[in-house]
Symmetry: C2
Subunit: 218 residues, 2 copies
C-alpha cells in the first residue's frame, strides 16, 4: 500500500517539477517576489502574505525555504548592497583609466543599472543601519586609486582643491538623486516614464561635463 502511495507522489512530483520549470521553481519565485516587494516598499511595509501571493505560492513555503521573513529580507538587502557596490568597485581602482574616464564610467554604469532597478537607491539608503556592508562601500571610495588620482591633479593645479567627500557627494548625488526623487518628478503627468528615461540619457552625457566644470571652481 505504501508503495502505491509513494509511486503516486513521485509521479505528482515529476509533473509538478515539469510545470514549475515553465515559470521557475518555487524558491526562485519567492526570491523574485521578495526582491520586487522589499525593494519597492521596505521591510516593515511588506507582509509575508504579500510575498507569497506575488510569488503565487503558499505562505508556508516562505518559512520552509528561508526560515523567517528576516532571513529572506537579509538576502535581498545583501543582493542590493552588492549590486550597488559593484558599480563602484568595477571602476574606481582601475589604474589604466583617467579621472575623467572614471567619472564617465561611474555615471553611465549607475544610470544603466538604476534604469532597471529604479527603487534600489531609496531602499539602500533607507535600510542603512548597523550593517557591515556599508563599511565596505565607504572603504571602496576612500582608499581608491581614483581618489589618489584626484589628489594628484589637485597638487598639479589641474583641478581646484575639493574635499574628497564633496566630490563623491557631487558625483553620486547628481547621478542617483533623480531616481530617489523619481516618483515626485513623475506623478504629476509633467514628466512621463519615457521623458524620465530621456532625461537620464541626457544626464549620462552631461553629468561628467558638469563635474568637469565644477572641478575648475575655486
Amino acid at each position: 500500500m505504501n508503495f502505491v502511495l509513494h509511486l503516486l507522489r513521485s509521479q505528482q512530483k515529476m509533473k509538478t517539477k515539469n510545470k514549475k520549470e515553465e515559470s521557475g521553481k518555487a524558491e526562485d519565485k519567492i526570491i523574485q517576489a521578495a526582491r520586487k516587494l522589499f525593494t519597492q516598499k521596505g521591510y516593515s511595509a511588506i507582509k509575508t502574505r504579500d510575498i507569497a501571493q506575488e510569488a503565487g505560492v503558499n505562505l508556508a513555503l516562505l518559512n520552509y525555504y528561508f526560515r523567517s521573513k528576516e532571513k529572506l529580507f537579509e538576502i535581498i538587502m545583501k543582493e542590493n548592497f552588492e549590486k550597488f557596490m559593484k558599480v563602484i568597485s568595477e571602476v574606481v581602482d582601475n589604474e589604466k583609466t583617467t579621472v575623467k574616464q572614471k567619472i564617465e564610467m561611474l555615471v553611465a554604469n549607475y544610470i544603466d543599472m538604476l534604469s532597471g532597478n529604479p527603487d534600489m537607491p531609496l531602499f539602500v539608503l533607507s535600510h542603512g543601519k548597523q550593517d557591515p556592508q556599508r563599511m565596505k562601500m565607504q572603504a571602496k571610495f576612500i582608499n581608491s586609486y581614483f581618489l589618489k588620482q584626484v589628489q594628484q591633479e589637485i597638487k598639479s593645479g589641474k583641478i581646484a582643491p575639493i574635499h574628497p567627500a564633496n566630490l563623491i557627494l557631487n558625483i553620486v548625488g547628481l547621478t542617483i538623486f533623480p531616481f530617489i526623487g523619481r516618483r515626485i518628478l513623475q506623478s504629476n503627468a509633467s514628466i512621463s516614464q519615457e521623458q524620465f528615461a530621456d532625461l537620464m540619457e541626457e544626464r549620462k552625457v552631461m553629468i561628467p561635463k558638469w563635474i568637469d566644470a565644477m572641478l575648475k571652481v575655486k
Copy 2:
C-alpha cells in the same frame, strides 16, 4: 459621597496638570514623539506603542487625541511636506531677486532647515504616494518666476540651454542628497557629526558656484 470623589479627582487633575506643564501637555508630547519616530523610520516600522512610550504616556491616549495611527501620521506627513515646500515657495516667486540670488537662497535655506531635520528628506521622498501635497510642490517649481527668469537667460545666451527638470534636479540633488546619504557617510567614523556640519557649511557656499559653472556648459 459623589462629591468627595469628584473633589479627589479634581485635586488629582490639578496635580497632574501642574506636573505636565513642566514637560508639555500629553497631546504635545505625543505629537513630538510621533514627529521624531515617524520621520526617522516611517509609518510601517513604528508601532503606536513606540510612540506612547517615547512620549511617556499611555497607549490609549493616542486614540483619545488622534483617533488612529493613520490620522496621527497624516499630521506629521503634512507638517513635513509643508516645511519642505515652504523653503521653495519663499524663494522661487520673488520678483526682486536674480536667478543667482535665488539659487543661493534655496541652497542656504535648505541646508539650514535640514541641519535641524536631517531625516526629513528621506521621509518625504519615501512617503511620496498618491498625495495631493506633491502636486503643489511640483507646481511650485514648474510655474515659478524662477524658471521664467531661467528661460530668459537661456534666450539671451547668458546661460547654456538646459532642461528645467535637470536644473531642478541639480540644485535639489546637490543640496539635499548629502542628508539622504548622511548615515552611510558618517557611520564609518571617517566623517563625524561635526565634520558633516562643516561640509554642509562649505557646500552652502560652493553649490551656487558649482551650479553657476554648470550653467555655462553646453
